[in-house]
């Protein structure tokens, strides 16, 4: 019993002295370091239209009428004859570049006074407006040709055929678009944002989420435009005069 007790005492002493031997004393000094970039950053974009055929500078977005089938009965998406080269820099957390239409501000021939109804019940004034129609529902009045855009990190071929269902294409929105109850603005920033702090916005996931366009180098990306043609008749002229590209920061 004594031996066991002695052993325990010895062990206890060993633990005590070993803990003494290796006990570490720390003196800690804490300093705050900071970088205040609250007022730093920029939101910038250049947007240059070019002709798909020869990369020459363009001033308007057009569609080749011979490529459109008249009275087709089904919607067919056609690529515009122009594309845009964009260089953007968004380095501010709240910064973004938005793009949307303002068809109510078109001249009299192409002003949109009546919206069309989307599948989800929302009211849209976006797209190309048929001359003299004032817009309205597509059936019968043929008031609108819906517009879409898609972005690419690299330049696409001049024969690119517009794909609206790829998941990366987005419909144009109009600043006067309304919610399904017709009450308030339906401008959804997820759908109108073409660049933000994450770079160019490639598409939308769900109703609000956006995802970045991968593979972008030198802050340059390319935008292509699609028109959804259906029931077009000879003599129809469609046009929009107001596509707004604006920078935003708080």
């Amino acid at each position: 019993m004594k031996k066991v007790l002695s052993l325990l005492v010895v062990m206890a002493c060993m633990v005590f002295f070993s803990s003494m031997a290796f006990a570490s004393t720390d003196t800690v000094k804490t300093i705050n370091a900071s970088a205040n970039f609250a007022s730093s950053g920029e939101v910038y974009i250049s947007f240059d239209l070019k002709n798909l055929a020869d990369d020459s500078t363009a001033t308007a977005i057009t569609w080749d009428p011979t490529a459109v089938t008249l009275n087709s009965g089904t919607e067919t998406w056609k690529t515009a004859q122009q594309y845009a080269v964009m260089v953007a820099s968004v380095t501010k957390t709240s910064g973004a570049v938005y793009m949307y239409q303002d068809n109510k501000s078109n001249s009299a021939d192409y002003v949109a006074t009546n919206p069309r109804t989307n599948q989800d019940g929302t009211k849209a004034f976006s797209g190309l407006v048929r001359k003299g129609s004032g817009g309205g529902e597509r059936e019968g009045t043929r008031g609108y040709v819906p517009l879409s855009y898609t972005m690419s990190a690299s330049k696409l071929s001049s024969s690119y055929e517009y794909v609206v269902s790829s998941g990366t294409a987005r419909y144009f929105s109009d600043k006067s678009d309304l919610k399904s109850d017709g009450s308030t603005s339906n401008l959804n920033t997820a759908y109108i944002t073409i660049a933000n702090i994450n770079g160019f916005v490639a598409g939308v996931t769900g109703e609000t989420g956006t995802y970045a366009l991968s593979g972008v180098t030198d802050d340059t990306a390319y935008m292509y435009f699609g028109g959804g043609f259906r029931d077009i008749q000879g003599g129809d002229i469609y046009q929009t005069e107001n596509i707004l590209i604006l920078t935003f920061q708080e």
């Binding site: 800690v28 804490t30 970088a35």
Partner: protein
């Protein structure tokens, strides 16, 4: 009247400048420090033949019959106990009657005038010895008490201090000054004394210090690079935005006056709560981190030796950080260390800032000893290339002195 005020103000400014400039040159470390370095590359103290009023000592060597001792400095960092330099000593005794030799540190003023000084605040004389050849056991060490005209040596033998002559490793010696019961420590001529009598031996000495019984302090001051004035925090200017590695506008100045054991380290970390947050973290949601780095130097930077504070990063695979203009391939020039968060622990030496080997010069494993005044400067850098406008980034930087 205005003219007089101008003259008085100018005189005041000149006096202030002189006081600031002269502060380090005439610093009375003997009355300030708890650890007073006599031959130390980590602790402030005396300077040999510096011509200053207070902390001025001189190495004196003598012999009678014995050969004159050879006491020379050797610069071999890997072999030194502390820093880069140690003393290599050779004493050769003779058989002549009353032969002796020795060497000491003598307090002086001006270029060589011997004085006595008050070391009564100190209770210990500590040093390291490494016996090499011969027998050091009977060699005595201690101090010399005044008056100058009739000095008295107060010594003990190395064997009484426990020195193992057969061991050729560094051995710590502590001379208890209070054991010299009748000595007047207020009137000391030689603050470190080695006496030999007919002994023949070679040995090394390093890290010779006087120590008080009370514990000193470890302090970290924040100072502006621009004017060296003390401030409260480390900042990066807004012009750092979207630039890659940029040095902060301030540096940390360390002051170490503690030597409880020889196993001490000073380390630097961020303390941001997660190993991944090893840098400046945005204060909005903590999802954006700007990597940080640090380097330490004995003197203020930038300097004329190419320590530019212009941080450059090499490519793969090292991604080493060095001052612009220095070698991108030689690790001895990688003076900047990526900072680690305290949550990561000490898995690498990237947190090690200073220990008995001196300040951590480079990733290549180089350490540097220092000379008076010893206040290492720590510079911080951050990679602001991916900084986001509208955000404020912040980090808790911890400097930790640990000793066992």
């Amino acid at each position: 009247m205005i003219q007089n005020i101008k003259i008085i103000f100018s005189f005041f400014c000149v006096c202030l400048f002189v006081m600031l400039f002269a502060d380090n040159l005439v610093a009375d470390n003997l009355s300030d420090k708890h650890v007073y370095g006599l031959f130390s590359e980590n602790f402030n103290g005396a300077t040999q033949e510096a011509g200053t009023v207070d902390d001025n000592i001189k190495l004196n060597i003598w012999a009678n019959g014995d050969s004159l001792p050879i006491v020379s400095t050797t610069t071999t960092p890997a072999s030194a106990k502390e820093g880069n330099i140690y003393y290599s000593c050779t004493v050769v005794g003779s058989t002549a009657t009353d032969s002796y030799s020795g060497f000491c540190y003598t307090f002086i003023t001006g270029s060589s005038t011997t004085v006595t000084r008050n070391i009564s605040a100190f209770s210990m004389l500590e040093f390291y010895i490494r016996p090499k050849t011969g027998d050091v056991s009977a060699i005595s060490v201690g101090i010399t008490e005044g008056p100058i005209s009739s000095p008295t040596d107060r010594t003990v033998t190395l064997s009484s201090l426990g020195v193992d002559n057969s061991s050729h490793a560094w051995q710590k010696c502590t001379v208890d000054l209070t054991s010299f019961s009748s000595a007047d420590l207020t009137n000391i001529k030689n603050c470190f004394l080695v006496n030999t009598t007919k002994q023949t031996a070679t040995f090394d000495l390093d890290s010779i210090v006087l120590k008080r019984s009370s514990i000193g302090e470890f302090n970290v001051a924040v100072k502006n690079i621009s004017d060296n004035l003390e401030t409260s925090s480390v900042t990066w200017s807004s012009s750092s935005f979207r630039n890659s590695w940029i040095a902060a506008e301030q540096y940390l100045e360390l002051s170490l006056d503690i030597l409880e054991t020889d196993n001490w380290t000073v380390r630097i970390y961020t303390d941001n709560g997660d190993s991944s947050k090893d840098g400046l973290v945005d204060t909005t949601d903590g999802s954006n981190v700007l990597q940080m780095c640090w380097r330490v130097s004995q003197n203020t930077l930038p300097n004329a030796n190419g320590d530019t504070l212009l941080i450059t990063q090499s490519g793969a695979p090292n991604y080493a950080l060095y001052d612009s203009g220095k070698s991108a391939t030689d690790p001895s020039y990688y003076t900047w260390f990526y900072i680690t968060d305290i949550a990561t622990g000490d898995v690498t030496d990237y947190s090690l800032l200073w220990d008995s080997r001196g300040y951590h010069i480079s990733v290549g494993g180089d350490f540097g000893g220092m000379s008076n005044p010893i206040y290492p400067k720590v510079y911080l850098g951050a990679n602001c290339a991916d900084a986001i406008g509208g955000l404020i980034y912040s980090a808790n930087v911890r400097v930790v002195l640990s000793y066992e």
